[in-house]
Protein backbone atom coordinates (compact mmCIF):
# COMPACT_ATOMS: atom_id res chain seq x y z
CA UNK A 1 0.00 0.00 0.00
CA UNK A 2 2.96 2.32 0.36
CA UNK A 3 3.11 2.83 -3.39
CA UNK A 4 -0.31 4.43 -3.46
CA UNK A 5 -0.46 8.18 -3.62
CA UNK A 6 -2.26 9.87 -0.78
CA UNK A 7 -5.13 11.21 -2.88
CA UNK A 8 -6.24 7.62 -3.77
CA UNK A 9 -7.62 7.30 -0.26
CA UNK A 10 -10.60 9.01 1.29
CA UNK A 11 -11.27 9.30 5.03
CA UNK A 12 -14.21 7.15 6.15
CA UNK A 13 -14.46 7.40 9.93
CA UNK A 14 -12.49 7.42 13.15
CA UNK A 15 -11.05 4.01 14.03
CA UNK A 16 -12.69 4.30 17.43
CA UNK A 17 -16.12 4.18 15.79
CA UNK A 18 -15.69 0.53 14.79
CA UNK A 19 -15.33 -2.31 17.27
CA UNK A 20 -15.56 -6.01 16.49
CA UNK A 21 -19.11 -6.87 15.40
CA UNK A 22 -19.96 -3.28 14.44
CA UNK A 23 -21.39 -2.18 11.09
CA UNK A 24 -21.15 1.41 9.89
CA UNK A 25 -22.40 2.68 6.54
CA UNK A 26 -20.60 5.63 4.97
CA UNK A 27 -21.01 7.43 1.65
CA UNK A 28 -17.89 8.14 -0.39
CA UNK A 29 -17.48 11.32 -2.44
CA UNK A 30 -18.04 9.32 -5.65
CA UNK A 31 -21.51 8.27 -4.43
CA UNK A 32 -20.59 4.74 -3.37
CA UNK A 33 -22.15 3.50 -0.15
CA UNK A 34 -19.63 1.45 1.80
CA UNK A 35 -20.22 -0.76 4.82
CA UNK A 36 -17.39 -0.78 7.34
CA UNK A 37 -17.23 -3.93 9.47
CA UNK A 38 -15.30 -4.66 12.64
CA UNK A 39 -13.90 -8.18 12.29
CA UNK A 40 -11.23 -9.81 14.43
CA UNK A 41 -9.57 -6.54 15.34
CA UNK A 42 -9.59 -5.22 11.79
CA UNK A 43 -11.82 -2.95 9.73
CA UNK A 44 -13.13 -4.48 6.51
CA UNK A 45 -14.95 -2.42 3.88
CA UNK A 46 -17.53 -3.92 1.52
CA UNK A 47 -20.25 -2.69 -0.80
CA UNK A 48 -23.15 -1.54 1.40
CA UNK A 49 -25.83 -3.11 -0.80
CA UNK A 50 -26.48 -6.79 -1.44
CA UNK A 51 -25.54 -7.76 -5.02
CA UNK A 52 -28.72 -9.83 -5.20
CA UNK A 53 -31.52 -7.27 -4.85
CA UNK A 54 -29.69 -4.17 -3.62
CA UNK A 55 -30.81 -4.52 0.01
CA UNK A 56 -28.87 -2.35 2.48
CA UNK A 57 -26.57 -4.79 4.26
CA UNK A 58 -26.33 -2.54 7.31
CA UNK A 59 -29.71 -4.07 8.23
CA UNK A 60 -28.20 -7.57 8.11
CA UNK A 61 -26.22 -9.43 10.72
CA UNK A 62 -22.47 -9.73 11.29
CA UNK A 63 -21.41 -12.72 13.35
CA UNK A 64 -17.64 -13.09 13.48
CA UNK A 65 -16.62 -12.62 9.88
CA UNK A 66 -19.93 -13.78 8.34
CA UNK A 67 -22.17 -11.05 6.96
CA UNK A 68 -25.78 -12.06 6.23
CA UNK A 69 -28.23 -10.10 4.08
CA UNK A 70 -31.50 -9.58 5.98
CA UNK A 71 -33.79 -10.44 3.09
CA UNK A 72 -32.74 -13.63 1.31
CA UNK A 73 -29.86 -14.53 3.64
CA UNK A 74 -27.05 -14.37 1.13
CA UNK A 75 -23.89 -14.70 3.19
CA UNK A 76 -20.22 -13.99 2.79
CA UNK A 77 -17.12 -14.52 4.89
CA UNK A 78 -15.90 -10.95 4.56
CA UNK A 79 -12.34 -11.87 5.62
CA UNK A 80 -11.84 -14.46 2.90
CA UNK A 81 -14.42 -13.16 0.43
CA UNK A 82 -15.94 -16.64 0.27
CA UNK A 83 -19.62 -16.89 -0.71
CA UNK A 84 -21.68 -18.87 1.82
CA UNK A 85 -25.21 -20.28 2.01
CA UNK A 86 -27.43 -19.28 -0.91
CA UNK A 87 -25.15 -16.44 -2.12
CA UNK A 88 -24.66 -16.53 -5.89
CA UNK A 89 -22.53 -13.42 -6.37
CA UNK A 90 -19.41 -12.14 -4.62
CA UNK A 91 -19.60 -9.06 -2.43
CA UNK A 92 -17.33 -6.30 -3.75
CA UNK A 93 -14.79 -5.07 -1.22
CA UNK A 94 -12.55 -2.03 -0.81
CA UNK A 95 -8.98 -1.55 0.30
CA UNK A 96 -8.78 -0.16 3.81
CA UNK A 97 -5.94 1.69 5.50
CA UNK A 98 -5.69 2.85 9.10
CA UNK A 99 -3.56 5.86 9.93
CA UNK A 100 -3.42 8.10 12.98
CA UNK A 101 -6.71 6.87 14.38
CA UNK A 102 -8.54 7.30 11.07
CA UNK A 103 -9.92 4.72 8.65
CA UNK A 104 -9.31 5.43 4.96
CA UNK A 105 -10.90 3.68 1.99
CA UNK A 106 -9.68 3.56 -1.58
CA UNK A 107 -12.70 3.98 -3.87
CA UNK A 108 -13.05 1.94 -7.00
CA UNK A 109 -12.31 3.78 -10.21
CA UNK A 110 -15.95 3.31 -11.23
CA UNK A 111 -18.66 3.82 -8.63
CA UNK A 112 -20.43 0.56 -7.69
Amino acid sequence: MTDLVEQDWVPACARSEISDGDKLEVELPNGDFVLLLGVNGKVIAVCADCPHQDTPLAEGSLIGSVLTCPVHFWQWDVESGEMLGPAELPLPSYDVREDAGQVFIRPHSVAL
Partner: protein, 348 residues
Protein backbone atom coordinates in the same frame (compact mmCIF):
# COMPACT_ATOMS: atom_id res chain seq x y z
CA UNK B 1 -52.03 4.97 -20.12
CA UNK B 2 -48.41 5.79 -19.52
CA UNK B 3 -45.57 3.77 -21.02
CA UNK B 4 -43.19 2.39 -18.41
CA UNK B 5 -39.72 1.06 -19.23
CA UNK B 6 -37.65 -0.59 -16.51
CA UNK B 7 -34.03 -1.61 -17.15
CA UNK B 8 -32.18 -3.89 -14.75
CA UNK B 9 -28.47 -4.06 -13.96
CA UNK B 10 -27.83 -6.54 -16.76
CA UNK B 11 -29.25 -4.13 -19.31
CA UNK B 12 -32.44 -6.10 -19.86
CA UNK B 13 -35.50 -3.88 -20.34
CA UNK B 14 -39.15 -4.67 -19.71
CA UNK B 15 -42.07 -2.51 -20.84
CA UNK B 16 -45.61 -2.23 -19.56
CA UNK B 17 -48.42 0.29 -19.29
CA UNK B 18 -49.61 2.00 -16.12
CA UNK B 19 -52.42 4.46 -15.60
CA UNK B 20 -51.79 7.52 -13.47
CA UNK B 21 -53.94 5.89 -10.76
CA UNK B 22 -51.94 2.64 -10.67
CA UNK B 23 -48.84 2.07 -8.61
CA UNK B 24 -45.97 1.17 -10.92
CA UNK B 25 -45.02 -1.95 -8.94
CA UNK B 26 -48.54 -3.31 -9.07
CA UNK B 27 -48.95 -2.51 -12.78
CA UNK B 28 -45.68 -4.29 -13.52
CA UNK B 29 -46.51 -7.38 -11.47
CA UNK B 30 -49.94 -7.61 -13.09
CA UNK B 31 -48.23 -7.40 -16.50
CA UNK B 32 -46.02 -10.36 -15.54
CA UNK B 33 -42.84 -8.33 -15.06
CA UNK B 34 -40.50 -9.68 -12.38
CA UNK B 35 -40.03 -6.44 -10.47
CA UNK B 36 -38.14 -7.00 -7.18
CA UNK B 37 -40.48 -6.57 -4.23
CA UNK B 38 -41.48 -8.11 -0.95
CA UNK B 39 -44.36 -6.43 0.91
CA UNK B 40 -45.85 -4.31 -1.90
CA UNK B 41 -47.07 -1.77 0.64
CA UNK B 42 -44.15 0.57 1.32
CA UNK B 43 -42.63 -1.13 4.33
CA UNK B 44 -39.71 -3.20 3.10
CA UNK B 45 -37.97 -0.99 0.52
CA UNK B 46 -37.25 -3.88 -1.82
CA UNK B 47 -38.90 -2.28 -4.86
CA UNK B 48 -36.66 0.76 -5.10
CA UNK B 49 -35.63 1.99 -8.54
CA UNK B 50 -34.01 5.09 -9.97
CA UNK B 51 -36.19 7.45 -11.97
CA UNK B 52 -34.29 8.16 -15.19
CA UNK B 53 -36.84 10.09 -17.26
CA UNK B 54 -40.44 11.21 -16.83
CA UNK B 55 -42.36 12.21 -13.77
CA UNK B 56 -43.92 10.24 -10.92
CA UNK B 57 -46.24 11.10 -8.06
CA UNK B 58 -44.89 9.91 -4.70
CA UNK B 59 -47.98 8.54 -2.96
CA UNK B 60 -46.41 8.09 0.48
CA UNK B 61 -43.25 10.14 1.00
CA UNK B 62 -43.01 8.94 4.62
CA UNK B 63 -43.13 5.23 3.72
CA UNK B 64 -40.78 3.25 6.01
CA UNK B 65 -39.27 1.55 2.98
CA UNK B 66 -37.88 4.87 1.78
CA UNK B 67 -34.94 4.33 4.16
CA UNK B 68 -33.45 2.16 1.43
CA UNK B 69 -33.64 5.02 -1.12
CA UNK B 70 -30.28 6.66 -0.35
CA UNK B 71 -29.17 7.69 -3.81
CA UNK B 72 -30.46 10.63 -5.86
CA UNK B 73 -33.55 9.81 -7.89
CA UNK B 74 -34.40 6.58 -6.07
CA UNK B 75 -38.11 5.89 -5.52
CA UNK B 76 -40.27 3.04 -4.26
CA UNK B 77 -42.19 1.53 -7.16
CA UNK B 78 -45.01 0.51 -4.81
CA UNK B 79 -45.54 4.15 -3.82
CA UNK B 80 -45.03 5.70 -7.26
CA UNK B 81 -47.66 6.46 -9.90
CA UNK B 82 -46.59 7.59 -13.34
CA UNK B 83 -47.63 11.13 -14.32
CA UNK B 84 -46.39 10.60 -17.88
CA UNK B 85 -44.17 8.13 -19.73
CA UNK B 86 -41.43 7.00 -17.38
CA UNK B 87 -38.15 5.12 -17.55
CA UNK B 88 -36.53 3.61 -14.48
CA UNK B 89 -33.42 1.59 -13.71
CA UNK B 90 -32.80 -1.16 -11.17
CA UNK B 91 -29.51 -1.80 -9.39
CA UNK B 92 -30.61 -5.43 -9.13
CA UNK B 93 -31.72 -7.97 -11.73
CA UNK B 94 -35.33 -8.76 -12.58
CA UNK B 95 -36.85 -11.56 -10.50
CA UNK B 96 -38.61 -14.50 -12.16
CA UNK B 97 -42.25 -13.64 -12.96
CA UNK B 98 -44.72 -14.54 -10.23
CA UNK B 99 -46.14 -18.07 -10.26
CA UNK B 100 -49.11 -18.32 -10.02
CA UNK B 101 -49.61 -15.17 -12.03
CA UNK B 102 -50.76 -12.10 -10.14
CA UNK B 103 -54.29 -10.91 -10.90
CA UNK B 104 -56.53 -7.99 -10.04
CA UNK B 105 -59.87 -9.20 -8.76
CA UNK B 106 -62.80 -7.52 -7.04
CA UNK B 107 -64.37 -8.92 -3.90
CA UNK B 108 -66.60 -8.25 -0.92
CA UNK B 109 -65.52 -8.44 2.69
CA UNK B 110 -67.87 -9.50 5.48
CA UNK B 111 -67.37 -10.39 9.12
CA UNK B 112 -67.25 -14.17 9.41
CA UNK B 113 -66.41 -14.77 13.06
CA UNK B 114 -65.34 -12.61 15.98
CA UNK B 115 -62.52 -14.39 17.79
CA UNK B 116 -61.51 -11.92 20.52
CA UNK B 117 -62.19 -8.26 21.30
CA UNK B 118 -59.74 -7.18 18.59
CA UNK B 119 -59.29 -10.20 16.32
CA UNK B 120 -61.78 -11.54 13.79
CA UNK B 121 -62.09 -13.61 10.65
CA UNK B 122 -63.39 -11.76 7.60
CA UNK B 123 -64.72 -13.66 4.61
CA UNK B 124 -63.62 -12.34 1.21
CA UNK B 125 -65.96 -13.40 -1.58
CA UNK B 126 -64.42 -12.87 -5.00
CA UNK B 127 -65.99 -12.17 -8.36
CA UNK B 128 -64.12 -15.23 -9.67
CA UNK B 129 -61.83 -17.95 -8.23
CA UNK B 130 -58.21 -17.08 -7.56
CA UNK B 131 -55.32 -19.50 -7.98
CA UNK B 132 -52.80 -19.24 -5.14
CA UNK B 133 -50.39 -21.34 -3.10
CA UNK B 134 -50.60 -22.11 0.60
CA UNK B 135 -48.81 -19.36 2.52
CA UNK B 136 -49.32 -16.55 0.01
CA UNK B 137 -50.91 -13.17 0.64
CA UNK B 138 -53.03 -10.56 -1.12
CA UNK B 139 -52.78 -6.80 -1.43
CA UNK B 140 -56.23 -5.60 -0.44
CA UNK B 141 -57.44 -2.15 -1.46
CA UNK B 142 -60.19 -0.68 0.71
CA UNK B 143 -62.61 2.14 -0.13
CA UNK B 144 -61.44 5.63 0.86
CA UNK B 145 -58.00 4.44 1.89
CA UNK B 146 -54.80 5.22 0.02
CA UNK B 147 -52.76 2.14 -0.71
CA UNK B 148 -53.53 -1.53 -0.15
CA UNK B 149 -52.84 -3.67 2.91
CA UNK B 150 -51.06 -7.05 2.82
CA UNK B 151 -53.15 -9.83 4.32
CA UNK B 152 -52.50 -13.59 4.23
CA UNK B 153 -55.15 -16.01 3.09
CA UNK B 154 -55.95 -18.30 6.01
CA UNK B 155 -57.41 -21.09 3.87
CA UNK B 156 -56.12 -23.23 1.06
CA UNK B 157 -59.10 -23.87 -1.17
CA UNK B 158 -57.95 -23.98 -4.78
CA UNK B 159 -60.72 -23.11 -7.18
CA UNK B 160 -62.97 -21.55 -4.56
CA UNK B 161 -64.11 -17.96 -4.99
CA UNK B 162 -63.81 -17.14 -1.31
CA UNK B 163 -61.35 -17.34 1.57
CA UNK B 164 -60.89 -15.78 4.98
CA UNK B 165 -58.49 -13.18 6.31
CA UNK B 166 -57.49 -13.07 9.98
CA UNK B 167 -57.40 -9.41 11.00
CA UNK B 168 -56.45 -7.58 14.16
CA UNK B 169 -57.89 -4.19 15.06
CA UNK B 170 -54.83 -1.95 15.17
CA UNK B 171 -54.59 0.96 17.58
CA UNK B 172 -55.03 4.27 15.80
CA UNK B 173 -57.55 3.16 13.23
CA UNK B 174 -56.54 3.01 9.57
CA UNK B 175 -57.51 -0.02 7.53
CA UNK B 176 -58.53 -2.18 10.46
CA UNK B 177 -60.91 0.50 11.77
CA UNK B 178 -62.63 0.65 8.39
CA UNK B 179 -63.03 -3.13 8.34
CA UNK B 180 -64.05 -3.63 11.96
CA UNK B 181 -66.37 -0.61 12.14
CA UNK B 182 -68.31 -1.31 8.96
CA UNK B 183 -71.38 -3.41 9.59
CA UNK B 184 -72.22 -3.90 5.90
CA UNK B 185 -70.25 -5.59 3.17
CA UNK B 186 -67.12 -3.76 2.04
CA UNK B 187 -66.15 -3.63 -1.62
CA UNK B 188 -62.46 -4.46 -1.95
CA UNK B 189 -60.01 -4.90 -4.79
CA UNK B 190 -57.29 -7.52 -4.52
CA UNK B 191 -53.94 -7.80 -6.24
CA UNK B 192 -52.96 -11.39 -5.60
CA UNK B 193 -51.36 -13.77 -5.06
CA UNK B 194 -47.99 -12.58 -3.82
CA UNK B 195 -45.40 -14.08 -1.50
CA UNK B 196 -42.56 -16.58 -1.52
CA UNK B 197 -43.24 -18.39 1.77
CA UNK B 198 -44.97 -21.27 0.07
CA UNK B 199 -45.54 -24.83 1.26
CA UNK B 200 -45.40 -27.51 -1.40
CA UNK B 201 -46.16 -31.06 -0.20
CA UNK B 202 -44.42 -32.45 -3.28
CA UNK B 203 -41.10 -31.46 -1.68
CA UNK B 204 -41.73 -34.31 0.77
CA UNK B 205 -40.46 -32.30 3.73
CA UNK B 206 -42.05 -31.59 7.11
CA UNK B 207 -42.28 -28.00 8.29
CA UNK B 208 -41.53 -26.02 11.41
CA UNK B 209 -43.74 -22.92 11.45
CA UNK B 210 -43.06 -20.19 14.00
CA UNK B 211 -45.88 -17.64 14.11
CA UNK B 212 -46.56 -14.63 16.27
CA UNK B 213 -50.12 -13.35 16.70
CA UNK B 214 -52.03 -12.94 13.45
CA UNK B 215 -49.00 -14.31 11.60
CA UNK B 216 -50.69 -17.66 12.23
CA UNK B 217 -52.96 -16.88 9.24
CA UNK B 218 -50.56 -17.99 6.51
CA UNK B 219 -49.46 -20.92 8.64
CA UNK B 220 -53.05 -22.15 8.78
CA UNK B 221 -53.18 -22.16 4.99
CA UNK B 222 -49.99 -24.23 5.01
CA UNK B 223 -51.53 -26.52 7.60
CA UNK B 224 -54.70 -26.87 5.52
CA UNK B 225 -52.65 -28.01 2.54
CA UNK B 226 -50.57 -30.37 4.67
CA UNK B 227 -53.76 -31.89 6.12
CA UNK B 228 -55.17 -32.42 2.66
CA UNK B 229 -52.11 -33.55 0.73
CA UNK B 230 -49.34 -34.71 3.05
CA UNK B 231 -46.35 -34.91 2.95
CA UNK B 232 -46.75 -38.59 3.73
CA UNK B 233 -44.17 -40.21 6.00
CA UNK B 234 -41.94 -37.16 5.93
CA UNK B 235 -41.68 -36.83 9.69
CA UNK B 236 -43.38 -34.66 12.25
CA UNK B 237 -44.24 -31.05 11.46
CA UNK B 238 -44.41 -28.40 14.17
CA UNK B 239 -46.23 -25.14 14.73
CA UNK B 240 -45.11 -22.78 17.48
CA UNK B 241 -47.83 -20.16 18.01
CA UNK B 242 -46.74 -17.16 20.06
CA UNK B 243 -49.43 -15.17 21.88
CA UNK B 244 -49.42 -12.63 24.67
CA UNK B 245 -51.67 -14.40 27.18
CA UNK B 246 -54.54 -16.90 27.36
CA UNK B 247 -57.16 -14.13 27.26
CA UNK B 248 -55.89 -13.07 23.82
CA UNK B 249 -55.80 -16.61 22.43
CA UNK B 250 -57.73 -17.58 19.33
CA UNK B 251 -58.04 -20.40 16.82
CA UNK B 252 -56.91 -22.98 19.37
CA UNK B 253 -59.89 -25.20 18.54
CA UNK B 254 -58.81 -25.29 14.91
CA UNK B 255 -55.22 -26.15 15.82
CA UNK B 256 -56.35 -28.78 18.30
CA UNK B 257 -58.49 -30.44 15.64
CA UNK B 258 -55.62 -30.35 13.15
CA UNK B 259 -53.31 -32.21 15.54
CA UNK B 260 -55.97 -34.86 15.93
CA UNK B 261 -56.60 -35.02 12.18
CA UNK B 262 -52.92 -35.41 11.31
CA UNK B 263 -52.54 -38.41 13.55
CA UNK B 264 -49.09 -37.84 15.01
CA UNK B 265 -47.62 -35.95 12.04
CA UNK B 266 -48.19 -32.55 13.67
CA UNK B 267 -47.32 -31.05 17.06
CA UNK B 268 -48.54 -27.59 18.04
CA UNK B 269 -46.98 -25.63 20.88
CA UNK B 270 -48.73 -22.49 22.13
CA UNK B 271 -46.28 -20.08 23.79
CA UNK B 272 -47.71 -17.34 26.00
CA UNK B 273 -45.22 -14.55 26.65
CA UNK B 274 -46.97 -12.84 29.58
CA UNK B 275 -49.02 -15.41 31.53
CA UNK B 276 -49.34 -19.19 31.87
CA UNK B 277 -52.16 -21.25 30.45
CA UNK B 278 -54.86 -22.18 32.95
CA UNK B 279 -55.58 -25.82 33.69
CA UNK B 280 -59.00 -25.29 32.15
CA UNK B 281 -57.52 -24.06 28.86
CA UNK B 282 -55.13 -26.99 28.77
CA UNK B 283 -57.94 -29.46 29.42
CA UNK B 284 -60.04 -27.90 26.68
CA UNK B 285 -57.21 -28.33 24.15
CA UNK B 286 -55.64 -31.61 25.13
CA UNK B 287 -53.83 -32.02 21.80
CA UNK B 288 -51.89 -28.78 22.21
CA UNK B 289 -48.74 -28.19 24.23
CA UNK B 290 -48.82 -25.01 26.32
CA UNK B 291 -45.76 -23.22 27.60
CA UNK B 292 -44.50 -19.76 28.60
CA UNK B 293 -41.93 -17.72 26.70
CA UNK B 294 -41.22 -15.98 23.44
CA UNK B 295 -41.97 -17.98 20.32
CA UNK B 296 -38.38 -18.11 19.04
CA UNK B 297 -37.06 -19.24 22.44
CA UNK B 298 -39.74 -21.90 22.75
CA UNK B 299 -39.01 -23.04 19.19
CA UNK B 300 -35.27 -23.47 19.80
CA UNK B 301 -35.29 -27.07 21.15
CA UNK B 302 -37.89 -28.04 18.53
CA UNK B 303 -35.65 -26.68 15.78
CA UNK B 304 -32.57 -28.41 17.24
CA UNK B 305 -34.39 -31.73 17.16
CA UNK B 306 -36.01 -31.20 13.77
CA UNK B 307 -32.83 -30.25 11.96
CA UNK B 308 -31.27 -33.57 12.92
CA UNK B 309 -34.25 -35.57 11.63
CA UNK B 310 -34.12 -37.88 8.63
CA UNK B 311 -35.70 -35.27 6.36
CA UNK B 312 -34.67 -31.62 6.61
CA UNK B 313 -37.71 -29.49 7.44
CA UNK B 314 -38.75 -26.23 5.82
CA UNK B 315 -38.92 -23.37 8.31
CA UNK B 316 -41.68 -20.76 8.05
CA UNK B 317 -41.70 -17.55 10.06
CA UNK B 318 -44.64 -15.13 10.22
CA UNK B 319 -45.81 -12.36 12.49
CA UNK B 320 -45.10 -8.75 13.42
CA UNK B 321 -41.90 -7.46 11.76
CA UNK B 322 -39.93 -7.26 15.03
CA UNK B 323 -40.86 -10.85 15.90
CA UNK B 324 -39.97 -12.05 12.40
CA UNK B 325 -36.59 -10.32 12.51
CA UNK B 326 -35.76 -11.72 15.97
CA UNK B 327 -36.79 -15.22 14.95
CA UNK B 328 -34.85 -15.17 11.68
CA UNK B 329 -31.78 -13.92 13.49
CA UNK B 330 -32.10 -16.70 16.07
CA UNK B 331 -32.66 -19.41 13.46
CA UNK B 332 -29.71 -18.39 11.33
CA UNK B 333 -27.09 -17.27 13.80
CA UNK B 334 -27.81 -19.22 16.99
CA UNK B 335 -29.46 -22.40 15.74
CA UNK B 336 -27.40 -22.51 12.53
CA UNK B 337 -30.33 -23.37 10.29
CA UNK B 338 -29.36 -23.22 6.60
CA UNK B 339 -30.63 -20.01 5.04
CA UNK B 340 -32.06 -21.83 2.02
CA UNK B 341 -34.40 -23.78 4.33
CA UNK B 342 -36.08 -20.65 5.76
CA UNK B 343 -39.14 -19.02 4.14
CA UNK B 344 -40.98 -15.92 5.24
CA UNK B 345 -42.68 -12.81 3.96
CA UNK B 346 -41.98 -9.67 5.91
CA UNK B 347 -44.88 -7.27 5.88
CA UNK B 348 -46.78 -5.39 8.48
Amino acid sequence: MNKIVVTDRTGESQRFDASDKMRILHAGLLAGVGLPHECGTGTCGMCKAKLETGEIADLWPEAPGRRSCRRPGEVLLCQSAAVNDVSLSLRSAFSPPLRPACERVKGRLTLEETLTDDVALFRCTLERPLVYEAGQFALVGLPDLSGPRAWSMIDYTPGAAHFDFLLRRAPGGGASAIVFDTSDELDVELIAPLGQAIFDPDEGRPFVAIAGGSGIAGMLAILARAEAEGPVNAGTSHIVFGLRDPDSAYLLDRLDAAVSQMNGALRVTVAFSDAPASALLQQAHANLIFTEGLAHDVAAPIVEQAKHGDVKPVYFVAGPPAMVDATLQHLLTVLNVAAEDVRYDRFG
